[in-house]
């Protein structure tokens, strides 16, 4: 090991560039970035997809594909990693330098047990370790990362673990050899919000035990705010701003950072002001324009910005907070005020809004959707029932937005898909515009479909890749047998309505970006001029800067057309930005329902409280002073039979109750009861003393 001088950083990245050669032009994924990580530090690297944040970290690990061209220097504990060959690097990887990947399912080898895979990490760096000794140590590591019953679980295969448990196992593997630096590459992106909170806790714990430095790569500003000491912001392969977390969040000096911070909704304040949307999108890394890569999207760009690329240099007096902008001095000095760079857009003028009455346009009563759980190929047999939706009721008035929130598996998507069938549910009723769908004939049902339309989550999957977008958008009109000329006119109108060019009608979906494709999906949803638009996670597949534009568009469309929206989402801040009312779902039931500000400011159900407290806030000061309600374990399978209250197996309130009170939770299924203007399904609302920050 090289001699370590005092004050030498643990990791020093100097002028790192990564290029992927392509026939159509080299993709310059990372360009000339330099930063350091000190012993024990927590660095957050934030950026949108394509910013180069993961590529730069994989370059440190030496795990880029063979065709990548890596230039510059990476010094780890004084050793130059880029000069080592695969064999030499493999002695450092997993021992002093370890990494946690995003998707814990595909990151674990499906055919070996968890214990074998953790043991492998140990035995690779300690050839004297026996199999048994490695397994004993693996059990210990699993216990550290909070996996219950580790002696048994160590023999389980990855597919027998839930997503959260797999990510815990990945962390166990990463800390197995007491590394000096742990790189966490979007470790919680694939997980639900309450599980994300658990995993981030485990990561903090792992950092405390090993004393390692952590480099956390994420697109989520809230996660950074709550955990990092320092933040690096990346854009189009460049490091554009670097500094202590408070400096970057409260006094950003790069317009991109300013815009990004103003484009994310904050769960505490969302809905009170409009989001800033960043126009356009990042440049193609294969054909970068000269000058600053953000110039084309920057409202305060000056001619110089499209000529020279700014260097990452300090501005003002603070030498620890450099940024790459020609006008950063003005921003730091306050002569170019931050709100003036990205002013918040105005809401739709009242005069342009469609008049709406309070008529109820959609009412769902006690809807049930159960799936048989079967096993076997030819001779299927029923081994249980999945209660995906188990007695859900809600209604929506004209011009209002109802949000349905909950984690994956809670039944929120099944609820709206069942609604969209427009047939009698297994139990209960669906009434659209005063007509019970159970009584409709096939012709009436098709006619009614023009009043209720859906927009899906993944804009890439929601449109047929083989049809030009004009056909895609006009498709609901084909189903309604609208003649071709009328259809073409309407398609042009719709494209303009969602902010696209009417001339794009003959382009194919793959020519559009994610945000544009989602606009196409929305245009299709509006084609038949519906009264109700159902949205299934419409922004969760989009980058934050794009997300704001789609949310603003939906708000404007709702107001201009007098639409009622059913908005299904897991991101509570996004939901608060757009919705009037909210229904929180857990295992097929609504557990809390009411006006969104009331529910979010004073959550009453322990599950709502846990959800609220797990949602990261992009505000470091707010994150520091929060008190959290953490949930134990994972969401139970909807096939599991739980008597009484479904939430009691994970309920933090339940644990505080006396036996008599607990008996009620076990014995009696709570119904929604009105309480202070909202409805809550909990027996012990009165005794709820949990504090949510």
């Amino acid at each position: 090991m090289a001699e370590r001088r005092a004050g030498t950083p643990l990791l020093e990245v100097r002028n790192l560039s990564v290029t992927f050669p392509q026939a159509s032009g080299d993709v310059r994924a990372v360009r000339d970035i330099s930063y350091t990580i000190s012993e024990g530090e927590f660095l957050g690297i934030v950026g949108e997809s394509g910013s180069g944040k993961s590529v730069s970290s994989l370059a440190i690990m030496g795990l880029l594909p063979d065709n990548a061209r890596v230039e510059g220097e990476i010094l780890f504990q004084g050793r130059s990693l880029l000069r080592l060959d695969d064999r030499e690097l493999s002695r450092i990887r997993g021992k002093e330098l370890s990494i946690i990947f995003q998707d814990p399912l595909s990151a674990l080898t499906p055919v070996y047990t968890i214990g074998d895979q953790i043991g492998e990490a140990l035995r690779l760096h300690d050839r004297t370790l026996t199999r048994q000794a490695a397994e004993t140590r693996a059990v210990e590591l699993l216990r550290i990362v909070g996996i219950p019953d580790p002696v048994r679980r160590v023999k389980a295969f990855p597919h027998e673990f839930s997503g959260g448990m797999r990510q815990r196992a990945m962390i166990a593997m990463a800390i197995a050899n007491n590394p000096r630096l742990i790189i966490a590459d979007e470790p919680t992106t694939a997980l639900d919000v309450t599980i994300q909170a658990q995993i981030l806790e485990v990561l903090e714990e792992a950092k405390r035990i090993t004393g390692a430095a952590v480099s956390l790569i994420t697109h989520d500003l809230g996660v950074i705010a709550g955990h990092a000491d320092r933040v690096a912001v990346m854009y189009a392969g460049k490091l554009v701003e670097l500094g202590a977390v408070d400096d970057v969040f409260y006094e950003p000096t790069m317009p991109y950072t300013i815009g990004l911070l103003r484009s994310v909704p904050n769960i505490r304040t969302a809905g009170t002001e409009r989001l800033v949307q960043l126009e356009g999108r990042p440049p193609s890394l294969a054909a970068l324009p000269p000058g600053c890569p953000f110039a084309a999207r920057c409202p305060v760009a000056i001619p110089r910005c499209s000529v020279d690329e700014p260097e990452l240099v300090p501005h003002g007096t603070d030498l620890s907070h450099p940024s790459a902008c020609h006008r950063a001095d003005e921003i730091a000095a306050g002569t170019l005020p931050r709100p003036a760079i990205f002013p918040r857009p105005e809401p739709l003028p009242i005069a342009d809004r469609a008049p709406v009455d309070d008529a109820v346009v959609l009412s769902v009563t006690d809807m049930v959707k159960h799936f048989p759980l079967t096993r076997g190929g030819v001779f299927r047999r029923r081994i249980g029932t999945v209660r995906a939706v188990d007695g859900v009721s809600f209604e929506i008035a004209a011009g209002r937005t109802l949000a349905i929130v909950g984690e994956s598996g809670c039944g929120k998507t099944t609820t709206i898909l069942e609604l969209m069938e427009l047939t009698a549910p297994q139990r209960g009723s669906i009434v659209v515009e005063g007509r019970d769908v159970a009584t409709l004939t096939a012709t009436q049902r098709r006619a009614l479909r023009s009043d209720i339309q859906i927009v899906f989550q993944d804009p890439a999957a929601a449109v047929d890749p083989r049809l030009p977008v004009g056909e895609v958008i006009g498709e609901p009109l084909v189903a309604q047998r609208v003649p071709r000329e009328v259809r073409d006119r309407r398609v042009a109108e719709l494209l303009e309505l969602v902010g696209l060019d009417a001339a794009m009608a003959d382009r194919y979906p793959h020519e559009f970006s994610g945000g544009q494709r989602q606009r196409i999906g929305i245009a299709r949803g509006l084609a038949t001029d519906p009264r109700i638009l159902v949205l299934d996670e419409p922004v969760s597949a989009l980058d934050v800067s794009i997300q704001a534009g789609v949310i603003n568009l939906l708000q404007d469309l709702r107001d201009a057309l007098g639409l009622s929206l059913v908005f299904v989402a897991h991101d509570l801040a996004v939901v608060r930005q757009i919705a009037d009312d909210v229904a929180v779902m857990y295992l097929g039931r609504i557990v809390e329902h009411g006006p969104i500000a009331t529910v979010f400011d004073d959550p009453k159900h322990p599950y709502t409280q846990a959800l609220m407290s797990a949602a990261p806030i992009p505000d470091p000061a707010a994150e520091r002073e929060r008190s959290r309600v953490l949930l134990d374990g994972d969401l139970p399978s909807p096939a599991q039979e739980i008597t009484g209250c479904r939430f009691r197996t994970r309920c933090p309130l339940y644990k505080l109750l006396d036996e008599a009170a607990q008996a009620r939770c076990i014995g009696e299924d709570p119904a929604l009861q009105p309480k202070d203007g909202v409805s809550v399904a909990c027996h012990h609302v009165e005794r709820n003393t949990l504090v949510v920050g």
Partner: protein, 316 residues
């Protein structure tokens, strides 16, 4: 191969490395980008395999259909000067024991084999598309019955089934045999189409079409079939080769094309007896069969790679 073109075909937002190279960040303004078919064609054009296979195939088609016209001999004409002659300048591929010109015989035989292949291959594909998409989209009892029937058909190798069915087309025209070939060659593709349909049925754009009010037939024709079309085209292409192979094997053992018709298989059969002593009788049709199948497989394989580049791009 560009990242964006991979993305366009697989509709994935990452390039498979799990690294954040931007998915599809070409500006929509500016140069008109290619449609999906354009992309496939551009990739095909870059593959030598496609050009080699394609030109050999074109040559063989011309050889089979134009060749006999240009040939100085007819198919049944006997050259009494030359019995059992090895290849000479007069008879390029030699002659058989009756003085038939082997070259002309091969041309005519190839003609029949090509016709059988180009009818039976696509026919089997159409069958598999209809049956597979129906079973996959409708589901339920019909699906189960079809799956069981496919399993049943797969219990015996097709060659075996054709031997058992042989008495049904013995003595009939070659066209009947062609239909029997197609009837025994659709099952595996039908399984593929069925599973593709099942996964397409869960895709959002198909759900969306259902929620717009389209019936099953409209959904299948508007969305399902077009989305498996490239698969079907590949299968039809490779199917031509598979059917020619099956025809050749059957005819070789006397279960296929019968006189007065000749195919490559029956020529091979005729040449077999003298394979060691007068190898040209066997080698001429054998070489034509191998070159033909090679050309078809090269084209089919190139098509497959052009449609699904993820199976080939330099991953790692």
């Amino acid at each position: 191969m560009t990242l964006s073109s991979i993305d366009a075909l697989t509709e994935k937002d990452s390039d498979g490395f799990g690294i954040d190279v931007p998915p599809d960040e070409r500006p929509v303004r500016g140069r008109r980008s290619l449609s999906r078919n354009g992309l496939i064609w551009r990739r095909l054009k870059a593959m030598p395999r496609f050009w080699i296979g394609g030109s050999v195939l074109t040559f063989l088609v011309l050889f089979a259909f134009v060749g006999p016209v240009l040939s100085p001999y007819t198919f049944s004409q006997q050259d009494v000067m030359y019995f059992n002659y090895p290849p000479t300048t007069v008879h390029w591929f030699g002659t058989d024991q009756l003085g038939h010109d082997v070259l002309t015989q091969v041309m005519v035989g190839l003609q029949k084999s090509l016709m059988i292949g180009f009818i039976a291959g696509p026919l089997a594909t159409i069958l598999s598309a209809l049956i597979g998409s129906f079973a996959g989209y409708v589901g339920g009892a019909a699906d189960k019955a079809i799956v069981w029937f496919i399993d049943l058909m797969l219990v015996l190798p097709a060659f075996f089934v054709l031997i058992i069915l042989y008495p049904f087309f013995r003595g009939a025209s070659w066209i009947v045999m062609t239909f029997f070939l197609a009837l025994t060659g659709w099952m595996i593709m039908a399984q593929v189409v069925r599973s593709q349909t099942r996964s397409l049925r869960e895709r959002d754009f198909v759900k969306a079409a259902r929620y717009m009010g389209f019936g099953p037939w409209s959904v299948v024709t508007r969305h399902i079939i077009p989305n498996v079309a490239s698969l079907l085209i590949i299968d039809a292409t490779l199917g031509v080769g598979a059917m020619i192979l099956a025809e050749t094997s059957l005819s070789f053992f006397g279960f296929g094309v019968q006189l007065p018709d000749v195919s490559l298989g029956s020529l091979l059969d005729a040449g077999d007896a003298a394979a060691v002593t007068r190898p040209w009788l066997f080698l001429a049709p054998a070489i034509v069969v191998v070159v033909l199948l090679l050309a078809i497989n090269l084209v089919g394989d190139a098509l497959r790679d052009a449609v699904d580049p993820t199976s080939k791009v330099n991953h790692g």
